[in-house]
Symmetry: none
Subunit: 123 residues, 4 copies
């Protein structure tokens, strides 16, 4: 079962996009694998304190990317191939990593200060 333990909602970014990103991060990190079971709409919506519909939207978009397989009345599962995993990892590194570094850079700190920030927040 895919975990949302470390997932924290951020304000100002659409929730369904945050959910999609969390799952893709799991794929890139290797913690989400092919065949893994997804939490049901109701379970996850209760866990995150959002509407089931918001989960539905995230899952639906992932299904349109062929990363999820879901059938009415049954549970949903990850559907991952190696090329897809690679593509997602690359996408995240190119986009998310870049924009995260940019955010740090814009705070007006030095690279060394950024390093120590990372050490501070990494655990």
């Amino acid at each position: 079962m895919i975990s949302f333990d470390s997932f924290i909602l951020t304000d100002g970014i659409p929730i369904y996009l945050q959910i999609i990103r969390h799952i893709k991060q799991g794929i890139a990190a290797g913690t989400v694998k092919d065949g893994d079971e997804l939490p049901s709409r109701r379970v996850l919506s209760a866990l995150l304190g959002v509407n089931p519909n918001t989960i539905q939207k995230a899952y639906k978009l992932l299904e349109e990317e062929s990363l999820i397989q879901s059938h009415s009345g049954a549970k949903s599962y990850m559907s991952l191939t190696f090329p897809k995993i690679q593509e997602i990892s690359k996408e995240l590194l190119e986009n998310d990593a870049k924009s995260a570094v940019n955010t740090l850079k814009k705070l007006g700190i030095t690279m060394e200060e950024a390093f120590s920030l990372i050490e501070k927040y990494w655990n």
Copy 2:
């Protein structure tokens, strides 16, 4: 005059919030100082390719936070005190930095790999 040279619009986040964040990042980084002149609504809307109403909304909210003073004419100026600057810097470090580090961490890489990513993207 406050610069928007490095400003790039991101999809999915309200534009007026991105403008506010850009200015606050400048405050934290020290590139935006008390008394600095803001681009007029008209000019900035043309520069960013965005509706003037959207700029107006950002400026209005900054004004409500007392970070901007719009004098009788069209021009607006930053109105910063040391405590306000500190407060904003702290807010950005606690939120943006933390979430940026978290994004890096979730990519499934080691801290060392994160360091080299930063070096790669910093310039």
Copy 3:
């Protein structure tokens, strides 16, 4: 045994409501009489290609309207009195007939053209 030969499922309207309407139409048309046996849930679900739960829901609502009596066994029977039959007939004539006529009228045809349409489609 109540017949579902001419029954065709329409998209966009809840199936259980279509089933209820089919039976009420039969009552109004006189083809469904007091004491008639209803197909079992299992048989009807197979016949219509629909989940047994959906049939169950239709039957349950009809039972709550006292149009059906489910005896201890699996079989269900129509339970119709003259006043109930009249009430249903009136309801259908007032609603379905009126809306059907309205549909024809809104097609932008004359009443005479509507007549010939009816002759065309009646058999």
Copy 4:
């Protein structure tokens, strides 16, 4: 401006489909013409007593059929060509007319009784 004067909501059928059908009926009947202005989401939603989003959904689907042209911030207009009008008229006659006649037929009345029902409800 397209009229919704004679429009009455029916229970059990999705509202957005009823709105689409009403407009298509107007096209087939010739009362809705190319270039006609559509009521805005807010106006029509207030008129029909439904949520603006429901109107939005109907309009969006019509736009995907290229029957409507809408631009953000501006009004929406019908965009009709002769072939499209013909196609819609044919579609309505084949489907709606047929099903309306079928509804009448299922009430267990004779064709002559159907004729008199039409005369009764036509005006």
